[in-house]
Amino acid sequence: MKRAGPGSFGAVVSLLTFVALAASLISGCSSAPSSTSTSSSSGGGGTSGGGGTTPTSNVQSISVNTGPDTGQGFYDIDTAFASVTVCVPGTSNCQTINNVLVDTGSSGLRILSSALTAVSLPAQSGSINECAQFLDGEIWGPVQTADVTMAGEKASSIPVQLIGGSSAPAVPTSCSNLGPVMDSLTDLGANGLLGVGNFIQDCGPACTVPGSSNAGFYYTCPMSNCVVTEEPLLLQVSNPVYSFTTDNNGVILELPAVTGAETSITGSMIFGIGTQTNNGLGSTTVYTINPNTGNFTTTYGGTSYSDAFIDSGSNGLYFLNTATTGLPTCSDYTFWYCPTLTTSLSAVDHGANGATGTINFAIGNADSLVSNPQDGVAQGLGGPAPNSFDWGLPFFFGRNVYVAIEGQSTPGGTGPYWAF
């Protein structure tokens, strides 16, 4: 199993690593991925020396492992988790939720009702519930308000979603008609989802318009009779990072390189881009995206696919299908590829700004990669995606990935964009 990332990108990452390490005065092995060194500082206060005021701690430890015990014998793989603290707004009535999935493919914090046991968050006025759509189904539950804290950063009084629970009205048919509804620990494989993607809100302008033009995420449920409602941007479930008082223009995910299958790895989610000494862009390349869809273009086998995206919440490299790639799917896991031998492939990512980068990657045999239930990490997991490229978590292994939020100013330009 080869590590993902060609020589040219490896050089970029190494240079960035050097800059980051030098700037933060952390000594370490120069050939190691920076995430190892950076994550070691995640528990404490400021991460850099600098004189004067102590900078806000902006490093949140993340871990890729088998996830929470579902009691069903199902285990996560290639899924990144963080701990998130939620509080009743303006109080110290708080609970820290562990095993929350870190998802750059969505925006907003959602917590499984069965995991939120120590605090009761206030509901947003108007009996607002949400049918939040994801690539593989819907999440239904009430919109509530919370203070959200990670590392030294705090988002005050932001809308979050509770997943399911006794306070949720029955799922409306118009929601369940969109695909499978995911409302349990077994469905999610996580205690919640932390959406830290390019967009501020989970739905955006499409949910503020009336009638049949509305995208239909938000419902008002007086007396449990739920109908789609217009939801103003400020009331929509939104990316907590955007609401931080500092370091609020994006995040960086840093994970070490992976070879084959492993039990677990740890890394860092760093808040802010170019706001502190530990989150500069260095010499990474900025790839801008379509501001409406969040997509860029990936070219593979001489064909351009305009629905390409990077999603830490997808647990593999998902692209095209067997007819196009020649990679057979597994007999049991039809959502994964199962080539007999690990297959090396290459694609080119094209930002809307014209930036290009070759991505060398390898797809292994998923049946053998997931054969040990103790392994929560595997390089080479991949599978089909409908005429698209979904660069999931293995894309992040050994590569620092920057997620810039729409409309936010950074040293690399105004978001939204990716940089790596």
Partner: protein, 159 residues
């Protein structure tokens, strides 16, 4: 990492039964996949969509644009049967409408996948293929009934 085995025989029987039911009385089917070309109009009306028909050598595409910017394409054989559908937009269309009698088998199969972690939802049955993917602000997918796809048509064209 365990996963329940499914019984292929049940799915084949189910698919054949559905295909027969849909083919026997297409007018009674208010939704699209597997239905007659008349069901396309039912979909268009439900979506409050404008539509446009493109003729190809081996099939025609009925493309519908809904006011919420969801686009649904229905692929119709020369015999007037919807053998495939594809969708794209800032949200998903009503899949119970678009997949018609195949919606229930689809959601049933999806629940049995018990995938470990998140990713595109891929259902591959002898009588039904559904691929669903995307991310916030951009959802897309496609579905087809392998037995209904006209000879010479690549399923990669259903998009």
């Amino acid at each position: 990492m365990k996963r329940p085995k499914r019984s292929w025989a049940i799915w084949v029987a189910l698919a054949i039964g559905i295909a027969f039911a849909a083919g026997a009385d297409p007018l009674s089917v208010s939704a699209s996949l597997g239905g007659g070309v008349t069901s396309v109009e039912a979909d268009r009306a439900k979506m409050e969509a404008s539509s446009q028909i493109t003729g190809k050598d081996l099939y025609s595409i009925h493309e519908m644009h809904a006011p919420n910017n969801v686009v649904v394409r229905e692929f119709v054989s020369p015999g007037g049967q919807v053998f495939g559908v594809a969708w794209q937009g800032p949200s998903r269309p009503d899949l119970s409408q678009v997949l018609g009698p195949y919606f229930a088998p689809f959601t049933e199969a999806a629940k049995k996948l018990h995938r470990t972690g998140r990713g595109p939802l891929i259902v591959q049955q002898p009588g039904l293929v559904v691929e669903m993917g995307g991310h916030a602000r951009s959802f897309f997918g496609m579905a087809y009934v392998p037995q209904m796809v006209p000879a010479g048509v690549s399923t990669g064209e259903i998009r």
